[in-house]
């Protein structure tokens, strides 16, 4: 087996050479921002190219399309991607959610059927957990799956399906039993095919004006009964397990990165360039004060991450820092957007596509997009409940 060092050097050289530059359209920073066919096709090709070069799924077994190397190899490849600012890996739900789940708990047949297409991006996956009436309350999913011979018949709707319009498969949380003793016990988990009669997707337009999500409607859609993962009624457990892969709490992700981490101190660059009232924004002491407050917040988040690795410094509440980081980072991003608007002064009035907009409206768009994270994956309000209850031990709200 090639040594990690040699593999890393190879990856470094490869990404240095092959990372696309000067792409003539806006490059999505997260897999949730893929809004045009042009972006989609480009990123699908790019993932396929990376995979073929051996830098995605390097540690997955060769039988299932992987490279047969170790996690350390893949981590080295992922680091190289980041270092060279490579575009994100497109097939995020496959790479980070469905793939690890199948690799971990799937049958031999499922592994052979699904895993290679995840890596090559031939088979795009999407996720069907949220429903229009149950955005925050996943356990209350109502999409109905009724067993009928070798099939389940699906009726209902899922929402916030990233790449739903491109996906071949969906990991789906559906209700198979409406009389179960509690709402969780009635749920089942499927690897549902999407290109079948009775499944339709509608694109959802985001508040930024762009696309990137869909709503999926199921009307008497029939899926094979063997697409059930785990047991009927055991869907909540499978879903929770899947979330753990996504959060990196369990290994098995195919590697690469699907969200290009923004630098929390990026706003400092803007502050140095921006003009307010015809003068450099940083000549204004009030803006300086606000920028420093924001920098200190950013620094606190980075220091939190460092501290979370040092056991003696987190021993009082070992899970506090990981549990609060989503809330902290997403609210920070939204506040940074607000600060950016102030720093930009009059230029904050333009929007993406205007020649006079600063950085092509990046910050206006970024502020609006920030809500995807303060809302998605559990709103900030729900995150505060979680931290309050699970870290501080306060009684449940409800």
């Amino acid at each position: 087996m090639i040594s990690v060092e040699d593999f890393a050097a190879g990856a470094d050289a490869w990404f240095a050479e092959h990372t696309p530059r000067d792409v003539p359209f806006m490059m999505p920073l997260t897999f949730m921002e893929v809004g045009t066919d042009e972006q989609f096709e480009f990123l699908r090709d790019w993932q396929n190219t990376v995979y073929k070069a051996g830098y995605l799924g390097a540690h997955w077994p060769t039988d299932y399309g992987g490279g047969g190397l170790t996690q350390k190899h893949q981590d080295a490849a992922t680091r190289a991607m980041r270092k060279h600012g490579a575009p994100i890996m497109l097939n995020a739900i496959g790479i980070g959610w469905a793939g690890p789940l199948i690799l971990d708990t799937g049958t031999e047949e499922e592994k052979r059927k699904y895993l290679p297409g995840i890596l090559s991006a031939d088979d795009i996956w999407c996720q069907g957990f949220s429903e229009p009436d149950n955005g925050s309350d996943l356990g209350n999913a109502q999409l109905k799956a009724v067993r009928d011979g070798d099939e389940y018949v699906l009726n209902g709707s899922k929402i916030w399906t990233t790449q739903g319009n491109y996906a071949k498969y969906m990991i789906l949380l559906a209700r198979t039993d409406f009389d179960a003793p509690n709402k969780y016990a009635g749920l089942s988990f499927f690897l549902a095919p999407m290109r079948i009669p009775g499944v339709e997707t509608t694109k959802i337009r985001k508040l930024t004006g762009e696309y990137g999500f869909t709503q999926t409607f199921f009307t008497d859609a029939r899926i094979p009964a063997d697409t059930l993962m785990g047991e009927e009624g055991g869907g909540w457990k499978v879903a929770m397990r899947t979330l753990e892969y996504e959060r990196g709490a369990r290994g098995g992700q195919a590697g690469g990165y699907t969200i290009s981490q923004t630098d929390p101190l990026e706003v400092v660059g803007l502050a140095k360039r921006a003009m307010r009232n015809g003068k450099p924004a940083l000549e204004d002491p009030v803006m300086r004060d606000r920028l420093m407050a924001q920098m200190i917040e950013a620094q606190a988040m980075m220091a939190n991450r460092e501290r979370s690795k040092i056991m003696p410094l987190v021993q009082e509440k070992p899970f506090a820092l990981p549990m609060l980081s989503k809330l902290q980072f997403t609210e920070y991003a939204r506040e940074t957007g607000e600060l950016a608007l102030e720093l930009e002064g009059a230029q904050g009035g333009y929007y993406v596509g205007d020649e006079a907009s600063r950085e092509d409206g990046y910050w206006q768009r970024s502020y609006l997009n920030a809500f995807s994270a303060t809302i998605g994956g559990g709103t900030s309000q729900i995150q505060r409940n979680i931290v309050g209850e699970h870290v501080l031990g306060l009684p449940k709200t409800r």
Partner: protein
Amino acid sequence: MTHHLAKIALTEMQAELRDQAMKFCADKSPIAKVRALLTDERGYDPDVWQEMADLGWLGIAIPETHEGLGLELADIVPVAEAMGKYLMASPFISTTLAAQAILFGGSDRQKAEWLPKLASGTVATVALFEPSGAWDLDTVEGETKTFVLNADAAEIIVTTVRHDGQTRLALIPRDRIEVERETIIDETKRSYRFDVPKVTEDDLMPADLTAAALDRIELVANLMQSAELSGAAMACVDYTVDYLKTRKQFGKVIGAFQALKHPTVDAFIDAEGARSLLYAAATHVEKQGDGEIAVRMANAKAQGALSYAADRSIQFHGGFGFTYDCDAQLYRRVAMFAASQFGDAAFHRARLAELLL
């Protein structure tokens, strides 16, 4: 101190005008119409505009000698407030600003020629901003203008120019100007840029009135914007409250959760304060010195109130809040655009500090 600036006067006519304007805008600008106009090139409905002219609204603050109604600036406020509340697109603000500019900065000939037309529905606008982003209106290079609202529909544009090393105001017919539409954050409005054409002596407004006219434009613009934003803030809170009363999660109407209820109360209190400051500003706007203080306070407060109300509205609508279909984004964008025009809240506070300390 500023205690006396909190006084509010309201004439019976203003109260009636307010009722009338609210009903008119509610009727002419339901949300479906607002959304249809987002993709309309002109961005407003010319028939509705003509109706506004017929109601006399465009002549409110134009003297009777120039065929206006000869009322007060304060009487414009209810109209702008209602338009803001219903997100109603129209060239009302830009035309009113142009009229005030001509009234305070124009020659007798210019006033006689244009004010009657503007009072009866001719669209006009003002061009004050440049790529430098300066909010100080006398900082002018005179080459390119930006953020010129409704420039395409206007028949006449009042613009600042550089002439013989001085900042001057000029009245330029639209057909001598080539305008290019800008992409702005607030899609309910239409903004344009243009290169300033050569101006003739005939275009120029009297030099000795420039400073007074610019002060007037800024004052009126900030007052009308306060009204627009205050109206929008109240509507945005109502919109959020409606959702919190109906949406259920975890088996509970979500408005029962304090995490949503309490910030919404705070947004409401902000919006109420903005409204009160608006009426106080309308009461004092014509008083030298006091007018600017009252107006900047109202404007700073209204910007903050709408920004907060809309930001929380997006958040509290959850997934739906993240969609283009949720109106919260419309309100948020109105606030974002307002901050780029005539100064944001921090700018007003800095000016207020100069005026008050």
